[in-house]
Subunit: 467 residues, 3 copies
Amino acid sequence: MERPRHQGMAKNTYMRWRLPLVCLLWEVAMIVLFGVFVRFGPEADAHWEEEKREMNLTSDIENDFYFRYPSFQDVHVMIFVGFGFLMTFLKRYGFGAVGFNFLLAAFGIQWALLMQGWFHSFKSGKILIGVENLINADFCVGSVCIAFGAILGKTSPIQLLIMTLFQVTLFAVNEYILLNLLHVKDAGGSMTIHTFGAYFGLTVTRILYRPNLEQSKDKQGSVYHSDLFAMIGTLYLWMYWPSFNSAISEHGDAQHRAAINTYCSLAACVLTTVAFSSMLQKKGKLDMVHIQNATLAGGVAVGTSAEMMLTPYGSLIVGFICGIVSTVGYVYLTPFLESRLHIQDTCGIHNLHALPGLIGGIVGAITAAAATEDIYGKEGFIKAFDFTGTYQTRTPSVQGGFQAAGIVVSLVMALAGGALVGAILKLPLWGDAAAENCFEDGVYWEVPEDEESDAYHMHNPDKPASP
Amino acid sequence: MERPRHQGMAKNTYMRWRLPLVCLLWEVAMIVLFGVFVRFGPEADAHWEEEKREMNLTSDIENDFYFRYPSFQDVHVMIFVGFGFLMTFLKRYGFGAVGFNFLLAAFGIQWALLMQGWFHSFKSGKILIGVENLINADFCVGSVCIAFGAILGKTSPIQLLIMTLFQVTLFAVNEYILLNLLHVKDAGGSMTIHTFGAYFGLTVTRILYRPNLEQSKDKQGSVYHSDLFAMIGTLYLWMYWPSFNSAISEHGDAQHRAAINTYCSLAACVLTTVAFSSMLQKKGKLDMVHIQNATLAGGVAVGTSAEMMLTPYGSLIVGFICGIVSTVGYVYLTPFLESRLHIQDTCGIHNLHALPGLIGGIVGAITAAAATEDIYGKEGFIKAFDFTGTYQTRTPSVQGGFQAAGIVVSLVMALAGGALVGAILKLPLWGDAAAENCFEDGVYWEVPEDEESDAYHMHNPDKPASP
Amino acid sequence: MERPRHQGMAKNTYMRWRLPLVCLLWEVAMIVLFGVFVRFGPEADAHWEEEKREMNLTSDIENDFYFRYPSFQDVHVMIFVGFGFLMTFLKRYGFGAVGFNFLLAAFGIQWALLMQGWFHSFKSGKILIGVENLINADFCVGSVCIAFGAILGKTSPIQLLIMTLFQVTLFAVNEYILLNLLHVKDAGGSMTIHTFGAYFGLTVTRILYRPNLEQSKDKQGSVYHSDLFAMIGTLYLWMYWPSFNSAISEHGDAQHRAAINTYCSLAACVLTTVAFSSMLQKKGKLDMVHIQNATLAGGVAVGTSAEMMLTPYGSLIVGFICGIVSTVGYVYLTPFLESRLHIQDTCGIHNLHALPGLIGGIVGAITAAAATEDIYGKEGFIKAFDFTGTYQTRTPSVQGGFQAAGIVVSLVMALAGGALVGAILKLPLWGDAAAENCFEDGVYWEVPEDEESDAYHMHNPDKPASP
């Protein structure tokens, strides 16, 4: 019974063979599948000069790379630094937060290139990729990062890799249903990324419910500097969200508009978050948890509608509401979900992604339904909703209906998929830690000896102070 | 009299109703005003296809979005991460630094969109916004972030929101006088942003003078890791400054040139900062305060002239001088200002923004006065200084004179405006902390218990070591 | 013998006159040389309107600025934040890591603009610079940052400035030999930046071998938060590496392709790094050193071939291999190099840059040799390898041979140059610290008193706990 904290005797967290096996297996599979299927799209292929002539382009600047690469890099930062550091707020789980996020995202983007490629970029037996595919792969992985937030600190890296495999698959299916079958617009992913990712993660964490999680309560908080690290994540998510919501919109006005709407929504969201964070506490002091998270809800909630003619003041209203909803969620809903529904949501993704994602879907449906040729212009109207071909005769109100259907489909897929994946992760094979070892990097990481630290020593009196 | 440090008994810092009220009031006003006034500009509006035809543009890539969006995102990072983290150097004020900067900037950009919009983008009763407006709003808020540096740790969030409201207003007026009435060039804002923002902040802090600030002397320093957090801010400001100074320059050569000049000036500035930081200390050791701040002075000082034909070696010279001026300022001027003039300048904005801003204005005036058609080319000359319409006959030397006048106007506006706003902030209504509670996050923030920390415990012996 | 740790009595580390002298001398030389030689290139010059007409360009968007500026900023972040923070992993050398990296890079980019300018942008007695020169200067300095990694914590800032001067010079010569004389392709610098930089640094550290370095062993490790700071560096290098490898490729498909290949290689590299980090440790736990470094090897190793038709699966294979090679290197090679060859490599650049750099050179040679008109298209083939003018008749296999020769030349230049520079740095003039004071910021920096810290106090029992 000595040092159970380190060895997790209650459960076998030994990763030496299992984790390498999964990583290598996954990666070899990627190489084989990429070898069979993935090739450069015409704008990245060395035959581009011929392509240019065919497409009647006069300049290299017309290559999609220059329309989207800056946004791609911003999105990339959001996935790896944004989500990674946002989750470093825990005092003893910084390595896991940023490191496991790194691992799952690096695997996920490869699998997403394949899955999304089969659905959307498959031509004559090959997946042809370009910068837009890279963005979409990052988006897809974003939904896994969101789900990771719910189970942060309670799962092994193997579980995360398994979850990523399944979630990316289901994401691609759900996205295909929404974008192709329902012909729904969702450029910033309120439904496909946030609603789907969050309810998926919440279902998984519900199934992995740990009744004794109280045993690691002392490690579920932050320390002063871990809260500052988390603010790095927050700010990069907040600043680059305009790029996120505009990255795959149509060239020109749609990208431009999506960035402006998102900028406005996020700005408003900060003020109501601060207001309610102070208001809901007896002492009137601000809570870093709210500032780190609820300030971002405005970006989530315009994910569907940002590229539409939501207008700047419409965006402000959405951000205004979501800052309130999200902060109230942190104060009242999260404890309720944990105590009553047994949903242990480490990062509070229900407040940051689930609720704002739903709101975003609804706002998108309303904005679409309210569209008129007057507001968009004749050409703009058709272009904005892609009312061409089969969809030539679809009206805004019908579009609104389909948008609403997209929310429901995303929810169903998330709950069903999350239940399935949760059941798989519950198998006693994957090396997750015992409840008293949750939120503790020492389980899966070599941690520098001399600082297992103030926070740690306090509860570990039998460990000598200097090694 | 127990634990005055925590409760600030001497003053009422209770925010619970006042702060939410101000935030919600401010934000509701924004929504109403945006609803009445703000619409998408032609390049972000869904009627863009028609606009393209009218403007005879052949490709979406001609949308201003693609000329400026990458620079916008860099500027955005400078405002939120750059300024925010630069100010985290204080050992116990990291939450306030990054959090209050977040709050005031998020509010400020909305108000700036309106104020600047009324002056510059007002057409048929509407403010039409695009990516350039977003950049200008960020710029405007930059001047507030600068002023915040002077009063860092000594004001309540309500005071900051009030200051932001007034300072943005005055900024827009001053900017209008300079750019429209005096027809002055100031793309990187040496005058409008730095000179104005810094002297405004210095005036405010002078009026808010706290004779007993010595009581919180122990918290005015840094700790090892807070200095590293601050370096994140420094480096992002330093790296992205070329984007800052080029973001709203004319398309083509002007943006290109502004980036190069700024890059050169900043590089030179680092070397003289290091030289003088070492030289001015008996022990010859480098001081993090100088490296964090004075290295940036070169960017400030080419803010006006970067888009002109300053030339790379001209930029090096400016950077060379400003590294010296700024470092010397930190060593000699800051203590002098505090002891003799009662100007308590937490971040030393006098050395980083005020002096280099003045130098930048002067360099700009000289560079403009020295312009010739030979150097710029016939067309380039007219384009660079916008010598068209009413200004068709203005000569370089006259332009130089107006540039110099711009400095004076900015100074006057800053001093007068700062005095007014300082007087308002001095009213005993806004919940600022007592002198002994300055530079302490615990006043306005929930701070994690177990690390109120090494630095803190030392001076608080009656607090038990483990909670 | 009192407090030798602080004063470095054994050696004179007093910088007060030497460091300022070198900085000012270097900078004055830059100003003079820039004054004589450096001017704006045609795309940054105010005569651009005339240039546009001559080059028959219809839009400002054709200015090279818009093709390359976003990538430039990403590269800039990699050099200053990426390398700077990657090296902050040491518990007591964060100021030195990020601060000295800042200093040497700021000087280096100026000198690189001159050196590379004389070789590549010299026209009618002037060096004409534009955004591509800025990128190349950053690249050149990247090789110095790499070499800095080997000697991190063991050298004075003066030594670093001297090394920068020489290494930039030699870099430019080597680059000229490769790109111009051998007509080798190396857009992402596997050979010119990584192989050259790493073996240069390893040679220097070999010559500066410190037999008693064990005396500062306690400071060679990390603490919890220093490892998180280092992850900031890691992630920015990892995320922006696609920009690094594509920044100076040809407009259009080549930039696009280089970004995709690099993205793929890096993703694969993360998985094999994690696999082998866990596998090679008895306890199966992940080691932050590997995650921080080996995950980046995939970017290094496609530095030459990324812009070629390496294909996504080819990139995955390269990344797969390099994650393994690099991690194995950290576990087995680094200790071997230190104990047997007396190469003390603080950051393990041998594993992150040297070996992957060599692999990158070889992969580039193979990919070039395997090129066919079928794969590239007739025009693409010529464009990709610049088989024009003198090189019109060069075949892919000959090109492959020259590529291989480029590796050898880079190696020879690095070893010879490193030996020379190492010998100069060994002179007892430059103020490096004694062995027991290595890896300690207190030698060259003012360090905040009250946190010379947990880690430090432990070994310094005679120092009172509160100052």
